[in-house]
Amino acid sequence: MAVGKKDIECPPYAEGTPLSDADIKQKKVTYVEDHPDIRYSWTAGQAISKFLNGLKEGKILGVKCNKCGRVMVPPRMFCELCYKPIDGWVELKDTGTVETFSISYIDPDARPLPEPVIVAVISIDGASPHMGIMHILDEVKPEDVYIGMKVKAVWKSEEEREGAITDIKYWKPMEG
């Protein structure tokens, strides 16, 4: 197989010579810093409001389109493929299947995370194949995760839930 040479090492110069913190602090580079205060409050709207209220009750809600027969999550007021209003709401299970995942070791600032975060796309049971949400996995060792793994939502307690996607703390492997 033409997979190329293995054990390729990055030569030290290939990553370049970065500016050091000291270079910046000593103003060797001319720059101006600004920290704009820009805030939004996005209206959730008809579909996502109902979805978020469902999460608060510990339920995952989806919608169905009678034309293409899909059960969609996250819900929307219209089927984007048939381009018509949806036909109704359905309660889905809080279990699903890992469609794909990544074990992520650094934070958005490129600093090492104390523990890796396992991000996964999870198709939800009761929705059409491959329809689901992206979330995180826990209570599992990174090396034990696999595509096709069955998982279950781990919810915040009823008092803690506020109608947000984080009302699901994470997903964990189903027993057995």
Binding site: V32, D34, P36, D37, I38, R39, Y40, S41, W42, T43, A44, G45, Q46, A47, I48, R76, M77, F78, E80, L81, C82, Y83
Partner: protein, 380 residues
């Protein structure tokens, strides 16, 4: 030739707590497709949306538009500018043969923005403009207004009259949340927030969406017996910054020149029947009327006082109520203006319908802190 074969809108409202921006777009798009008698999944070749990430509150906004427009797995692009720039883009796509039917969309969900002043400031140069003082950046419009007033020898009443006309025009528009039966005394008594600019001379923010379906002349004639033609489009930018620009709405003058040339209009003041111009600050209407050559350089305020631009005047301007009556719709501002022009030309403007109109102009500025804008000429 390119025609408008369908229009739809949602709003316009001062706030829309019940619908998300996606749902507002869906509502306007469904109406436009119904109006045009088309199925977007089957018939549309290209979708053009007009949006600015910072107004939306998330980056790469173009990625969020296909679903609610019926544009999934279809050619879609976003123009970071006013709706009229989108009309120009769709016009070119159709004229070049890339598309027979193209859709243009713009919306405002301004009520989602908590810190609008800082959003406007974010468009200012961070090194030498943004952090001068901490006044709300509407002062930028006041700077331009004061210079314009002194160059044209205008009094405060001259600017106040624009507010009186537009807010009263808006009373006939069921989609104008800021319509009001105001008098010149009411406007003159309005507090000066940015001397010489008064509070009532500033268009408040509004939510809404406008969708147009554009088609080539061949397809347009198949779809409708009464197409409204896009006779000309133009857009123009001067230069960045209040320290370098002419502050004379050169952008509107040049964009209009481009659109008039395309439309074969040699004498706009005679050939244009009515206009919807950007009035998001009241003085801008006078400045834009002049730039669009609808009145001579020193005539617009005098003609305004004489009622020349009233809805029953010789050349009605902003019969919709303008942005002072409808609200500042951000990148959808030109959409609201073009919508009014098309409805008037179709004879579907309801209580605000003008009689005997064949040529109308829509103009939008790219708002603070820019010296850019676009113009479209429509006709039947």
């Amino acid at each position: 030739m390119v025609a408008v074969v369908g229009v739809g809108y949602s709003g316009f409202n001062s706030t829309t707590p019940d619908l998300s921006w996606k749902e507002i777009m869906y509502e306007a798009a469904v109406r436009a497709y119904t109006d045009a008698g088309i199925n977007p999944r089957r018939d549309v070749d290209s979708f053009v949306t007009c949006a600015e990430d910072i107004y939306e509150g998330f980056a790469i906004f173009d990625e969020f538009v296909p679903d609610q427009l019926g544009a999934v797995v279809k050619p879609t692009c976003t123009v970071s500018g006013d709706f009229l720039y989108g009309v120009a883009t769709a016009y070119m796509q159709i004229r070049s043969g890339l598309a027979d039917i193209a859709v243009v969309e713009a919306h405002s969900k301004a009520s989602d923005i908590q810190t609008f002043g800082n959003v406007v400031k974010f468009a200012m140069d961070p090194i030498w403009l943004r952090n001068i003082g901490n006044a709300h950046p509407y002062y930028l419009a006041a700077l331009e207004m004061f210079q314009y007033m002194s160059e044209r020898c205008l009094g405060e009443e001259d600017v106040a009259r624009v507010v009186v006309k537009n807010k009263n025009n808006a009373l006939l528009n069921e989609s104008a949340p800021y319509a009001a039966n105001v008098t010149i005394d009411d406007v003159m008594a309005s507090p000066k927030l940015f001397d010489p600019m008064k509070k009532m001379e500033i268009a408040p923010l509004a939510d809404g969406c406008v969708v147009f379906v554009l088609a080539s002349d061949k397809v347009a004639r198949e779809l409708t017996d009464s197409p409204v033609w896009v006779k000309g489009v133009g857009w123009w930018s001067e230069t960045y910054g209040y320290d370098t620009a002419s502050l004379s709405a050169m952008y509107a003058y040049k964009a209009a020149k481009m659109a008039y040339r395309m439309a074969g209009i040699a004498n706009p003041a005679k050939e244009v029947d009515f206009a919807e111009v950007d009035d998001r600050f009241a003085f801008k209407e006078l400045q834009h009327i002049e730039a669009l050559q609808l009145a001579g350089k020193f005539d617009s305020a005098r003609l305004m006082a004489e009622g020349y631009f009233d809805r029953d005047g010789a050349l009605p301007v902003n019969v919709s109520g303008g942005s002072l009556g409808v609200g500042n719709l951000l990148e959808c501002t030109g959409g609201q203006k073009a919508l009014e022009v098309v409805l008037q030309l179709r004879g579907e403007a309801g209580k605000k319908q003008l009689s005997d109109v064949e040529t109308g102009v829509a103009q939008a500025w790219r708002y603070l802190p820019t010296h850019s804008g676009a113009v479209a000429v429509f006709g039947v």
